[in-house]
């Protein structure tokens, strides 16, 4: 798949819903930061030197040994893409929003299947990322590490015997590793246990984030749990810790869902049914409202209350109804109101197509 296909297709492998525990773990992501030796970090890099970094990466991925090991990977300069295309890469989680700033000097490397990507000249010269569906952190680390070895075969990294991989921000030094899981935790939110549970997690050296709107509820009940420490722990240990905490969270979320089903079944079915009804029939839908209804519908699907909608479609809809994709689908700039109308239209269309098939 070329970068054109990537920006035209809302679907990515990480949305497949195929990985282990994918009823709760939406995706697993491993990212490592690497820098080239003897060059200033990107925020102090001149235009020409930034170009040198891009060139070095291009050469590294065209190397015969690299291609035999990793397959074909394609480098695209950010300035070769339109603003909408750039935003779509963010909405698909293939690049970070930081890559959009000062994009003239930045690039992205993508593997066909979108599982592996490299951001060039973000906060660090290189940020290698692997994104997989479900709970697959070990596999993600394995793939990133192999990509890392492939690049290091021709690139000299900034590495210190005592401190490990050197990064622009001292919060990343050492392994340069950030491992995270995206979790859908509506059960724990509904039984009002989320705060306590997440508070405990932060005491274990992990960070929890939700995207909050005006209220106090995370949008779509989605939470990202990631490691905080990068220095002094081996990569495998960081990942093992995150997996074990995630497993505990899974157990608690499942228990919460069972309790809801047992004790508040009518209310639960009502909530799911209302979400389904609104999504099927609404004519104007803001992105916040959509996110919260998607969460309810997804819970209904996972619990067997809704049977004719495939679970991965919900994740795809979450991405497809983001602003940049709506612009792409409709082929024109949209005002916020128009966006809400098109969003509702698209959701109706997708849900009725899924029902018929």
């Amino acid at each position: 798949m070329s970068i054109r296909e990537t920006v035209n297709n809302p679907h990515s492998h990480w949305m497949d819903g195929t990985g282990p525990e994918s009823d709760i773990v939406i995706s697993s992501r491993v990212r490592v930061a690497r820098n080239l030796a003897h060059l200033p970090f990107p925020h102090l890099l001149s235009r020409e030197k930034a170009e040198d970094v891009i060139h070095a990466v291009q050469t590294a991925i065209e190397n015969r040994v690299f291609r035999e090991k990793m397959g074909k990977m394609e480098l695209t300069r950010m300035n070769e893409l339109t603003p909408v295309e750039r935003q779509i890469l963010v909405e698909k989680h293939l690049i970070s929003p930081d890559l959009l700033e000062d994009f003239e000097r930045k690039a992205v490397v993508l593997r066909d299947d979108e599982v592996l990507s490299v951001m060039v000249n973000e906060e660090d010269h290189l940020r290698l990322q692997c994104l997989l569906p479900g709970l697959q952190l070990n596999r993600a680390w394995e793939l990133v590490s192999r990509l890392d070895d492939g690049l290091e075969a021709t690139l000299d990294y900034a590495f210190d015997e005592k401190l490990g991989y050197l990064t622009a921000c001292p919060t990343n030094v050492g392994t340069g590793l950030r491992a995270s899981v995206m979790l859908h935790l509506p059960g724990l939110v509904m039984v009002n246990q989320i705060k306590g549970v997440l508070g405990t997690i932060t005491k274990l050296g992990l960070t929890v984030r939700g995207l909050y709107g005006e209220g106090t509820e995370a949008k779509g009940n989605l939470f990202q749990v990631s490691n905080q420490v990068t220095l002094g722990q081996a990569e495998e240990d960081i990942i093992a810790n995150l997996i074990s905490v995630t497993r505990q969270l899974l157990g608690q979320e499942r228990a919460a869902r069972e309790a809801l089903y047992r004790e508040r079944r009518e209310q639960l079915e009502d909530r799911v049914g209302r979400a389904y009804g609104l999504l099927k029939h609404a004519r104007v839908m803001t992105s916040d409202e959509a996110m919260s209804l998607f969460s309810d519908l997804r819970l209904g699907i996972d619990m067997g209350i809704i049977k004719n909608i495939p679970a991965p479609l919900i994740i795809e809809l979450m991405v497809l109804t983001r602003p940049a994709f709506l612009v792409k689908v409709t082929g024109k700039d949209l005002s916020p109101v128009e966006r809400d109308i098109y969003r509702a239209q698209l959701i109706r269309k997708k849900l009725s197509a899924a029902q018929q098939s």
């Binding site: 820098n35 929890v208 940049a324």
Partner: protein
């Protein structure tokens, strides 16, 4: 007041975020607020980490973290020219050499963030050289001790051979 994210445009929007049960309000310009809002799940702003770090540096280095800096005293990296004051303001180092120039002053920062000052993970395959072999050796020795304590003698013999092999490699350089 200037935007906390781009430090360029005036801040007109307040964005509230709750992380780890702690509520934080960011003052942002409209463009930055839009960019942050537009993010789907998966990539959350890293701003907080930077602000957190800037706060730490403020304490460790005794420099103001915002506003104009008076008298940029202190060390400067000879490779990239970054001063301590610049570092304390941005929270970002300028190059790999900075770690050497600011070394002693960074140690307490590492300890606060990571609880640690020494890397024990992966080492580059090609350029990691000796460190890589030494780390591997340490791991094997730990495994050997464990194998012996569990009385897995066949495994222990295998490990001992592997250790000898590596030690030979190390001596031959």
């Amino acid at each position: 007041m200037e935007c906390e994210r781009c430090h360029q445009r005036p801040a007109t929007v307040h964005l509230t975020e709750i992380i780890n049960n702690e509520k934080r309000t960011m003052r942002l310009c409209e463009q930055c607020a839009r960019e942050l809002q537009a993010q789907a799940m998966g990539f959350f702003p890293q701003i907080n980490l930077h602000n957190f770090l800037a706060g730490l540096l403020h304490n460790e280095f005794g420099f103001p973290t915002t506003g104009p800096t008076v008298a940029p005293a202190g060390a400067r990296c000879e490779a990239c020219g970054l001063t301590e004051a610049q570092f304390a303001r941005q929270g970002l180092l300028g190059c790999g050499e900075c770690y050497r120039y600011f070394g002693p002053r960074l140690e307490p920062v590492f300890r606060r963030i990571h609880g640690n000052t020494c890397h024990t993970g992966k080492v580059p395959e090609r350029t990691g050289g000796k460190v890589r072999v030494i780390n591997r050796l340490e791991r094997l020795k730990a495994q050997l001790r464990e194998a012996i304590s569990r009385e897995e003698f066949e495994r222990a013999a295998e490990l001992r051979d592997a250790i000898r092999e590596l030690e030979k490699e190390l001596q031959e350089g």
